[in-house]
Structures are given as structure tokens and as C-alpha cells.
Symmetry: C2
Subunit: 118 residues, 2 copies
């Protein structure tokens, strides 16, 4: 991940509305949420929400998939990890204690389950 990708990602998160959207999607995990639900919860005009979702999409922070009539948006945890990694490496001094790993709660539990079971 290079500097300009990070700039794009940070720019996407550097907006009150988009940060709210992103946090909401993080909370939901891989299941994500349809655009309409997000618009309703945040009380946004549909076209405004689309504008912001495109920013997040172009920055690579969220994914989009169609489920019949709805378009589902979800956090791209790998991308967020890459951003965190860059910031930790380049913007946090050279004496960082450890690197955080971002992943949804359920995936975590599943992973723990797998480990325990194995």
C-alpha cells in the first residue's frame, strides 16, 4: 500500500457522515447493510448517501454486492488493516509496541472456535 492510496482512504474517512457510515458497517461485519437501511438510519437523502458510499468504495474501504433489488455495502477489513499498518509503520515512530489486526467479531469467534476445535 502506497502513500496515495492511504491519502485516499484517510480522505474517505475524514468526513462526519462517511465516518458514521463506516462505523456502522464495521459494527455489522461481513454481512453489511443495504444502502436504503443506512440512508434511513442516518436520515440522509438517497443521492447524498450514494455520493458518500462511492467515496468509500473508490477508496477501497468498503465492498458492494447486489442482493436482488438491494445493494449491500460492507467493510473491507483487509483494506482497513492495510491502512492501519501503514499508519503504524510510517506515522507512529519506530518504536511501536504491536500492530492491531482488524477483523469482525464473528470471524474472530469463528477463528477462535476453529483453533479450539483443532
Amino acid at each position: 500500500m502506497d502513500g496515495s492510496q492511504v491519502v485516499a482512504a484517510l480522505g474517505a474517512l475524514a468526513h462526519e457522515t462517511r465516518l458514521r457510515v463506516f462505523r456502522m458497517l464495521v459494527e455489522r461485519g461481513p454481512a453489511g447493510l443495504p444502502a436504503g437501511v443506512i440512508a434511513e438510519k442516518l436520515d440522509l437523502p438517497p443521492s447524498s448517501l450514494t455520493f458518500h458510499l462511492q467515496q468509500l468504495l473508490h477508496a477501497g474501504l468498503v465492498t458492494q454486492r447486489r442482493l436482488s433489488r438491494q445493494l449491500i455495502y460492507a467493510t473491507d477489513f483487509a483494506a482497513m488493516n492495510a491502512v492501519m499498518g501503514y499508519l503504524t509503520e510510517n506515522c507512529c515512530g519506530s518504536d511501536v509496541v504491536c500492530v492491531p489486526v482488524c477483523r469482525p467479531a464473528k470471524a474472530g469467534k469463528a477463528a477462535a472456535q476453529r483453533k479450539r476445535t483443532a
Copy 2:
């Protein structure tokens, strides 16, 4: 640290030039760098650099101190830690492995030294 402070910090870092400036300051640690040196290294018109430094300053990511005729800018590691903490907590899912701690290399070495000596 609340959402709008984070938005301000991310906005400050979400610019090619400012990210470069900030990385340069992180590298330098608490000693920081005078504006003139930064301007020269990045080949920027002085007034443009000032504009960007103000953004970083207002976002609370850097500190400013005067050393005779020069104004020295330095990373505020505590502020950067707060931003990383927010992102880890709110934008990384609820199954984060650990939280990174940002601090300059020399402070780290000094801390290690202190520990070893103690």
C-alpha cells in the same frame, strides 16, 4: 477523543503534502524540524508550507515551538496515539488483537535503557 476531532485529524493527514510533512516529523521525533528545513526538503513555497502546517497544528497532530528565529514543528505522539486508539476501537471490528502504541525511537530506547538499568 470524539468523532469530530478524529475527522479533523484524518482530514489533516489526507493530503499528499501533509502526509509527507508528518512522516518527516515522525522520523525526527521530539526534536522536530524548523519550517524552513521542511520547505527546502519538500521544495515548497514558504506560504504553502505554512498553510499545511496550520492544518496539522489545528488538528492537534503537531506542536510548534520557537527556537530563536526558527519555528520548530514536531509530532504530537500522544495525539497520534489517540487517533490510532479511536480507529482501532471504532473502525476495526470488535475482535482487535492489540493496540499499537506510537512513540519516537529514542524515547523507546531511553525507556528500555531505564528499564534495563532499574
